[in-house]
Structure formats: C-alpha cells, structure tokens
C-alpha cells in the first residue's frame, strides 16, 4: 500500500519524496528510486489518479517543432538573420523562409529586418544538435511593429492563454489591446491608450507571479475591474 507524502499543488524541491510504495507512477519531473517517487526538479505537484507529475515553475524555454514564438533579430547574415528565441539555442531564418517577396542576391537585408526587430515566427525544425529552423511564412506570422514586449517564464504561457484562449481574450477585451503570446514566453502587447497597454502588461506579469494560486481567473478579473481606467503612476 503506497502513500502520497505531499499535497496536490504543493511546491516541492529536487530530491523531495513525493510518494512511497509501488502504487504510483512517476511522470514528468519525477522519478522512481526503489519504493519511493522523488522530485527531479523544483515544481508544483500534480496528482491525477495514480500518476504524479510536476508542473515546472521556472526553467528556460526549450524550442519545439511546431511552436509559434516571438524572437528578435540579433545578427544580419549573408542570406538570412539570426534570431534570439529566448532559449539556449538561437535560430537562423533564411531569406526564402522570411517572405514570399523576391529578395535579390546582395540586397540590403536590414531593409527587411534589422537588429532589435521583433518577429513572430514558427519553428519548422529542431535537429538533434538543437539547431533551430524558422519560417515567417504563415498566417499571422510577421514583423511586430509598435507596442511593447513582456517577457514571462515560458512555463506560464498556458495560463496566460487560458482554456481555449479565454484568459488572453479577457485581457484583450478589458484593455482593448492587441496581444500575441509566443510559446517561448515572449508576449507582444499593443494598445492605443498607454495606460491600458500598461495594464495589459501588468496583468500578464501578475498571471506569471500567481499562476499556481487557486482562483487565478477570478483574481485577474478583479484586477482588471479594479484598474479599468488603466494604470497611471
């Protein structure tokens, strides 16, 4: 007969005993050592039936094929651009993947994307050596102009988006801002009213801080209500 040693949604540290006995199955972020299941990182306990896993509270983004991310240009190369992906692995975007426009050989690539430009792109491939290929050809993918960038921990992105986009929609509607969320934790916010744009940005940071606290949706709703005139200091 096994026993769970921690509570659901408890914060646990590496090496902490989560359960004893052979009844439970270790999943993401946990491992079995003999008759115990231990944490293999810092995280939030998630118990579903017999499966114990950890929800990460921190940790750098890891590029995945198919992810839509927001990166920025760090280098202009001979036939493309180097893009920072907010991870340990920078990516290269080739001319042919950047635009359907014809770019002549020898053209000034900074006319298209210059250092510091933020772009919404999709990861088409991550090799076994962690080389990342990107494309900007696709619906919604483009250079981002205006607005501001808010960086959050990539693990919090699902909470910022919400079930079927419900959380980010709530923020968009309340603040009247455009919001694009990259899977890599980089979020773009643009509003016509600076005070509302600031409110949207602060709301996103608040979700990042409080993502693991129960009642998040209500807390955020209340925060948006309380500050519906926007934030001015």
């Amino acid at each position: 007969m096994g026993e769970i040693q921690v509570k659901d949604k408890e914060v646990v540290v590496p090496g902490e005993t989560l359960a004893t006995g052979m009844d439970f199955l270790p999943s993401y972020g946990t491992r079995r050592e003999g008759d115990r299941i231990l944490a293999s990182r810092l995280g939030l306990v998630n118990i579903e039936g017999k499966v114990i896993k950890l929800v990460p509270l921190s940790g750098v983004y890891y590029p995945k094929t198919g992810d839509t991310i927001i990166g920025y240009v760090t280098e202009v190369l001979l036939s493309g651009w180097r893009i920072d992906t907010n991870s340990a692995y920078s990516a290269v975007m080739n001319m042919k993947d950047a635009t359907s426009e014809f770019i002549a050989r020898g053209a000034d690539l900074t006319k298209y994307f210059a250092i510091g430009d933020y772009v919404m792109v999709k990861i088409i491939n991550v090799t076994s050596q962690n080389l990342v290929d990107l494309t900007m050809k696709g619906p919604g993918l483009r250079k981002l102009r205006g607005g501001r960038i808010v960086k959050v921990n990539a693990n919090k992105v699902p909470r910022i988006i919400g079930k079927q986009g419900s959380m980010v929609s709530m923020i968009k509607q309340s603040t009247n801002c455009r919001i694009l969320v990259g899977q890599n934790g980089v979020v773009w916010v643009q509003g016509d009213d600076p005070a509302q744009e600031l409110l949207a940005a602060e709301t996103i940071k608040k979700i990042e801080r409080e993502a693991h606290i129960p009642g998040l949706t209500d807390n955020i709703k209340g925060f948006l209500e309380k500050n519906k005139e926007g934030i001015r200091k």
């Binding site: 231990l38 293999s40 810092l42 939030l44 921190s58 940790g59 750098v60 340990a88 050596q129 606290i213």
Partner: protein, 235 residues
C-alpha cells in the same frame, strides 16, 4: 591556553545561525542567498544558455560553469584585490564538482549553465556557503536536479571536534578545517578538502557532525524555495 570553549559560545556541534532566500536577483534565471553566521553568499544562475567560446561546447550535454568571487570589502582584514586569484579559481572548480552529481543537463547539448557566486561578507566557511546558495539558485532556475547539495565545514581545534568553524577557529595554529558538500538524500560526498593533521577517529567524529548538520541546512534551503512561491495576497 588550549581551546576548550568556543569563542562565540557555541556548543561543538552547533551551527551558527543560518538564513536563506530564493529569487533575490531578478535578472537571473534563478538565484539564491545563504547566510551562516557572518558569512554571506549570493548565487545567480544564467542558463541553460548559448555557450561561448564555442569550442568549449559539449555536443552530448550541457556544461556547468561556476565562478566564485569575494567582494573587495568582504574580508576581515585587508581589502581583497578584485580579479580572479588562484584560490578563487580552485574554489570555483571544487564548487562545480560539488554540484555536478545532482545536475542533469542531458537535454541541453552545446549549452551552458553559468553559476556566479559573490560574497559580500566572509567569516570562514565561504565555499560551503557558496555551494548552499548555488543549490538554491539552480533549483530556482528550474534546472533538472536529482537532489539539493548542502555544504558545511567541520574540523578540529586543539582537542575539540567542531562543526562550522568561524574565521578565528579556522586560523588557529593547531586546527583542521574540512569543508564538505553532500547530496542531501544519500549523504554522498561531492566536495571534500582538508588541511591539517587529524587522527582517523577525530575525522570520523567531524564527518558525523557534518552529516547531521546537512539535514538542518537542507530544511532552510527547502523553506527558502517554497517561500518564494507561497500564496500571497492579491497585489
């Protein structure tokens, strides 16, 4: 005069007061702060991130790189000249070896995890404090880790077997200082250095003291990490 009572009134097996915090350096991916008596250490973790110089990259797994610095005004006595010294480079090396056994960087080929340790105030036990802070910082950064690492010094002054020597005890002419780092669950030793003459029996006693202290330190490290994420009132 033989040393029969500790100069700060502690019992032989008593640690100095310990405190710890997580997440103290906001720009870092993870950070920790650990204080034991008057020795204080910050640790900041950046990574996994792109590794330069490129020729140091490991295509099989990520690299752990530690750096240790005492702030120029941290030492009792003369100012510490800024810049790497042989001592600080060695401490960085043994710190890396102390932490490596619990770190799992298999998914991060060609990347690096940088750990920066800085001490604003020192009173012996500095490499141990640095390792304790670094453990917190690595966990805070979400690095895959099998366990936390705890470190403390134990040793001998005259005939007393002591835990956590302070500067005066460490500088005693007839003494031995043994800094040790251990993986908390298994108590396996990942850092061990010793300077001075000691009998095997005395050494056994000293290492036992360190082992017990490890649990006490672990509780403080654990609490610091949990506290960072505790439920707080709506801001």
């Amino acid at each position: 005069m033989a040393y029969t009572e500790r100069n700060d009134g502690r019992k032989p097996d008593e640690l100095r007061p310990i405190e710890a915090k997580a997440g103290v350096i906001k720009r870092a991916d993870g950070s920790g702060w650990f204080k034991i008596g008057n020795t204080e250490a910050y640790a900041a973790v950046y990574g996994p991130r792109e590794m330069f110089p490129r020729f140091r990259q490991n295509p099989e797994k990520g690299v752990l790189r530690c750096h240790y610095t005492m702030m120029p005004f941290s030492s009792a006595g003369d100012r510490v000249r800024p810049g790497p010294s042989r001592r600080s480079k060695e401490i960085a090396l043994v710190t890396e070896k102390a932490l490596l056994p619990v770190i799992n960087l298999g998914d991060f080929s060609n990347a690096v995890v940088d750990v920066f340790i800085e001490l604003p105030q020192t009173d012996a036990g500095t490499r141990c404090a640095g390792i304790c802070a670094a453990s917190i910082a690595l966990a805070d950064a979400g690095i895959p880790m099998t366990d936390l690492v705890c470190a403390v010094s134990a040793g001998r002054v005259d005939d007393m077997i002591l835990l956590d020597l302070n500067y005066i005890e460490d500088s005693h002419e007839n003494g031995v200082d043994t800094p040790m780092a251990m993986l908390h669950n298994t108590k396996q030793v990942s850092l061990l250095q010793m300077d001075g003459e000691i009998s095997l029996d005395q050494l056994k006693q000293a290492t036992e003291l360190a082992k017990k202290a490890c649990d006490e330190i672990y509780e403080v490290q654990k609490a610091a990490l949990k506290k960072k994420f505790e439920v707080t009132e709506n801001a």
